[in-house]
Amino acid sequence: MSHQPEKPTNGWEPRIIAFFCNWCTYTAADLAGVSRLKHASNIRIIRLMCSGRLDPQFILEAFAKGADGVLIGGCHPGDCHYIEGNYKALRRFRMLKRLLHEMGIEDERLRLEWISASEGEKVRSVVNDMVAKIKALGPLALPSKIASWDEEIAGNQELALEKEEAQHA
Amino acid sequence: MKYLYYPGCSLRSTGRAYEESMLALFKALEIPIEELNDWNCCGATAYVSIDETEAFALAARNLELAENQAGNGTVDLVAPCSACFLVLTKTQRYLSTYPEVSRKVNDALKTVGLEYEGKTRVRHPVDVIVNDYGLDKVAKHVTRALKGIKVACYYGCQIVRPFATFDHPHYPTSMDRIVKAIGAEPIDWPLKTRCCGGSLTGTIQEAGLRLSRALLKEAEKRGADVIITCCPLCQHNLECYQGRINNKYEETIDIPVLYFTQLMGIAMGIPEKELGIQRLFRKPKFTSVSAKGGEAVHV
């Protein structure tokens, strides 16, 4: 297993997982499509009924499985289809942001945006902006970091060395 | 708050009276202002016609120098000449709107170790007086009543559009409000933002003169005693070519054209000499009327 963070190479493209609520932001992304508003292809959208469904674990899972950024899209304050799910999302987002900060994950990698069903243009600009910012940061490569942390915790330095040697061979 | 002052080339020659009167006015109102060190040409109209990016770079150097001279925080750079004001605000707008412009200009600035961070705000003296200083305070400085004097406020094109935000691009009112504050009477004048002809009075002169003539005639028709402007080129066109317009089109127009700072200065009793009144070709006929408690008579 390699411990070096993957350096940004010419081939590297950030991967961003987006969680969009069904009523506002997902519809806005559809609108962006219908309006042919071209944007960076680095985003992968997961549809939830409400941003309130967003379990912080989903975000951690995304980072842990190799996402370079996570974007959350919900209805504007006061517009939630389920009255106040977006406020819950905001609270969890703030909490998680602090946690990620502790973990050394840059602020720009987790983003929350209120995008209403009519704001197809905003989907484009937010995605493009986020991709540009994450490109500037480079890969997060959390999976390999986690692997090295795990091994450190286990104190299993020898095993790590062995594996490295095996790879060189 | 201290303002930085960007004179521009015109205020050092044809627009000298504008500089003199503005500085005298700021002094009287106790608005602190200091000249921008080593400012260069803004990169006006003529320069843009040759190389636009270089023009942006010229303007950006001034913005950067202002930022530098001010130290930290934002800084207000006062540009009285309309053309300079436009070019500087436009540069700022385009630097923030078009990443390509911003990259080219900043790369060029970097070659001499400069970097513009976007902390300069370009201001026009009209904006500063109306929105920062306040007309209530202006009114308190008035010592000569200009009552009954009808003033046509001429904004010209480039201070209200398209990048300024302090007034309406079609129907600006800032100067009209200044005129009211100093006790004179602004007239309703539909041509207040119509072009005076700009540099065409020199190049394709007949077209330029006709534009100035339309402005002068309408001001005369609406009973203006004086036209005030806030741009050295407008002032030059409307004043210096009045004789030629009269000759050419058999008109008998005779309207003094003052900088708004001069009119304010007169109302505040600042000596004529400090306001550069002696440099005018057509002197205002009411300047000698001192109105200590009495009514000013306009001729």
Binding site: - | P162, I204, C240
Partner: protein, 216 residues
Amino acid sequence: MSIVPIIPSLLVKDSPAKVPRKISRRIKFESELDLSFGESVAERAYGENLLSCIQCGTCSATCPLSHYMDYTPRRIIAMVREGFKEEVLNSLTIWLCASCYSCYVQCPRQIHITDIMYALKREAIARGGYPPRHPIPVLAREFFSRVKRHGRNTESFLLVSLYLKTNPFAMLKEAWLGTRLWLSGRLSLKTESIKRKKELRTILNAVEAEKGDGHQ
């Protein structure tokens, strides 16, 4: 830069209502057009909306100079779009634009018409396709080189060199105004200049070096 010589050929006359009684052949073949002209101008002039023009004529109607133009601004936009490069670059319209930005603020499609006019002027100057001794390009060139040398412009010197390069006799016509200006202290004969000239030149040279793809 206000007192500049006048070229007799550019004097404005009221246009005759009568059409000259001469038959002329007017037709345009697609092969005579430069079909990429519109896009290339749009790209250079922050005219990203140029192609969205609906030909409503607001620009022409709000323009204080459109009645002196050979083509109204609206027609210039249409011609740029359709690739009438020769007509556009040889038109008087682009030189009559006084940069008052009326059209820029009122255009319902938010087309940066003033910027487009500048881009056309630059292209015309660059290829030399303007009338000889035309004062506007000469003025622009003189201004450009003075600022490049000194960092500032001295209006009096600008004018003198301009007269010499266009129409020396016109200087006499304007002399009275110059004298009055000089007497009232409004025409300085001292060369205006900045201190760090080298710094400025380095910046401008850097911009120039950056070019190369022909974009300005």
